[in-house]
Assembly symmetry: C2
Homo-oligomer: 405 residues x 2
């Protein structure tokens, strides 16, 4: 048994949260002074347990076990959204640190060791998953010269502070035999079901459309109902039809959202000439996404046969990323051995594991988010749940070390 030290784990998470502390949360956006300081602190902690730790020119921190040729890679990211929470990706990184430390303390040796990683800018302050995409060799380097933050800061300028760091660290498929990423759920399901561990089946794909209806502005008092070309009414019907029909087409975990809606000209007494909304839907199965898209486009075409013309323009398209079921089974077994009945669930949000899973067997594990909250200073998880999650991941790692040896 690989026993992790819960008190030390929580203490390290607390120490890390002091970098960029903001009220009860953390403001540690990628490549900020606080982010870089936190990464240097992490390098120090990794060196304490005799890992070769480096930070590369994009801010990726990598702790390499020098005694082995093969390793389980454990980690996530330590950058946050503005005014974010203290756990998020930091949890998965400190789990990696604690499990590597526990492994070293156990005094055991094996041909397979543990590498630890904290990827840069997962949150996309400049470029979403900058670090993991670079690590996996799928980043278009030209994007780094043009990327800017929402406030207009250039990525290239922020990176110049790291010009003297290590060359870019790349995934070594011969060495890293598996990737394990733990993360808070960022949703309400584990808490609602009283479960402590979620084993992620896959990261959902996302399809997003900007839907525009074009009719005609008319006086809302003098134009009889039958003579209107009401863009709003057309989109209201489309939204309600989506709400009614998607459950019949999608799977049990399919989700969708109309998050923006605007009318023009936007006056109480003018029939709207134009209505615009965004619809996005997510699922782990491409076939499900295809079926939803086909249906929706069909409804758009039908709606367009009337006086109002409707158009749906795709604005985002992210493919689903399946997780390794073998690694998932190891997590499930470990959770059961620790007394939990783990929940098999999709990840509705994106993570670094999206890119890793295309390269090497990868798995993700969730622990509960209190109230489902995340990306906010109220984000939290009970200490006991944090500790249990780490023990589960440690147990799974131990088994995988034996299996890959």
């Amino acid at each position: 048994m690989l026993r992790i030290n819960g008190g030390r784990l929580i203490a390290d998470l607390r120490t890390l949260s002091a970098f960029g502390k903001f009220q009860t949360g953390v403001d540690r956006v990628a490549l900020s002074i606080e982010d870089i300081e936190a990464r240097r602190w992490l390098c120090g902690k990794l060196r304490e347990i005799a890992l070769d730790a480096t930070m590369d020119r994009y801010g990726n921190v990598f702790g390499r076990d020098p005694k082995v040729d093969k390793a389980i890679l454990i980690g996530s990211h330590t950058d946050t959204v503005p005014r974010g929470g203290w756990l998020d990706g930091a949890l998965g990184v400190i789990y990696g640190l604690e499990i590597a430390r526990a492994w070293r303390e156990s005094g055991r040796t094996a041909p397979v060791g543990i590498d630890v990683v904290s990827f840069s800018d997962e949150e996309g302050t400049y470029l979403p998953c900058l670090g993991s995409r670079s690590f996996c060799g799928v980043l278009d380097e030209r994007d780094t010269t043009t990327a800017k933050s929402k406030t207009g800061a250039a990525l290239a300028e922020s990176l110049s502070a790291l010009a003297n760091e290590a060359p870019l660290i790349r995934l070594d498929r011969e060495r890293q035999v598996a990737f394990l990423e733990a993360h808070i759920e960022q949703g309400p399901r584990l808490e609602a079901s009283g479960t402590k561990v979620g084993v992620v089946t896959g990261i959902v794909g996302i399809r997003r459309f900007r839907v525009t209806a074009r009719g005609q502005a008319d006086h809302a008092g003098t134009t009889p109902m039958g003579m209107r070309k009401d863009a709003a009414a057309t989109l209201f019907n489309l939204a309600v039809r989506t709400e009614r029909e998607f459950p019949k087409i999608g799977g049990p975990d399919t989700v969708w959202n109309v998050g923006t809606f605007a009318l023009h000209p936007g006056a109480a007494n003018v029939v709207p000439s134009q209505a615009e909304m965004t619809l996005e839907f997510r699922d782990t199965a491409s076939e499900t996404l295809d079926a939803l898209e086909r249906s929706f486009i069909g409804w758009v075409d039908e709606a367009s046969r009337g006086q109002v013309k409707v158009e749906a323009v795709p604005t985002a398209r992210i493919a689903p990323a399946a997780m390794s079921s073998t690694l998932g089974a190891a997590l499930t077994e470990a959770a059961i051995a620790n007394g939990d009945k783990p929940l098999s669930m999709p990840s509705g949000a994106g993570h670094d594991a999206m890119f890793l899973t295309a390269q090497i067997p990868s798995a993700m594990m969730f622990i509960p988010s209190i109230g489902g909250r995340s990306h906010d200073i109220t984000e939290n998880t009970a200490d006991a749940d944090i500790v249990l999650g780490c023990q589960v991941l440690a147990d799974a790692t131990e088994k995988l070390i034996a299996r890959f040896a």
Copy 2:
């Protein structure tokens, strides 16, 4: 037969449209230099036909037939919305001028004459129907000290330019036995039915509500559909239910509109915590408005029984104003005598006649709007339709003079 002069009528309308001409339309908002100049020009035209013409301190222009103790009052307003059309209320005023002129030219005398009026600020640059409300004695004078235009100009300051004009002109119920207001339809019905005259049964009442749904913002990827409190979905359903049920509750002329709709926080990947829309509905029958309101409030209450709370706050409530059926019959007869099959219809927009009808028998007559356009520089009516409309109103006036004598 009282014969109007069509060429002269069109020429006067064209001359009037030169005051504040803007491209193919007119920009002559109330109390602007152009509006006052146009009103002084109108006073001159009224004096040419020996009417006692004055402009009062609110800008109302009144032409009094000095030879009689009783009169049919004919008119409307000569102010426009910004970048409006050349007809709108100007039409009804110049109809009054032309009919009074034709009456004088006919050399006939009767105990009942014709007074002509152009009310001030019908369009509400400062205060909607300022002139007709003052004329009818139902204006709260305190409002004139606080009213401001959308651009922040104070009504009191604009009125100071008229400080030396005549004292406020009031309706004299003993004298003005009826009010006739002609106006462009501002809608598509006459054109669509090939009709040249619309006889207004009443001016619709308006009820307007701000409807707010309050749910909870959640991550649109990680929150299962069943655990959401989606404010947008709730209002979409309410809007569609309104669209489906109102036709069953309202009358054939009932109209309604959802003209504004907003979501918060308004991001594609966030379940909306709040949704807000305005619903207004119009009808000439108070009982119909009551029935629509009862049903809608019932649906709001039903919707509120779920996780999302919905509230409907009334923001406008204007009572319907019935027109005199006796005067309407005179218009109908005159239209038929001129070869038209007039359409009996409500006015979906407000007019000065709303206030007059509460004091003396009043009627409104519409002529077609090309493409239903109004309050825009594209507003227009065929010259022949303008002339025909004036002849119809003249014939009706002639009959009413005989009847009230």
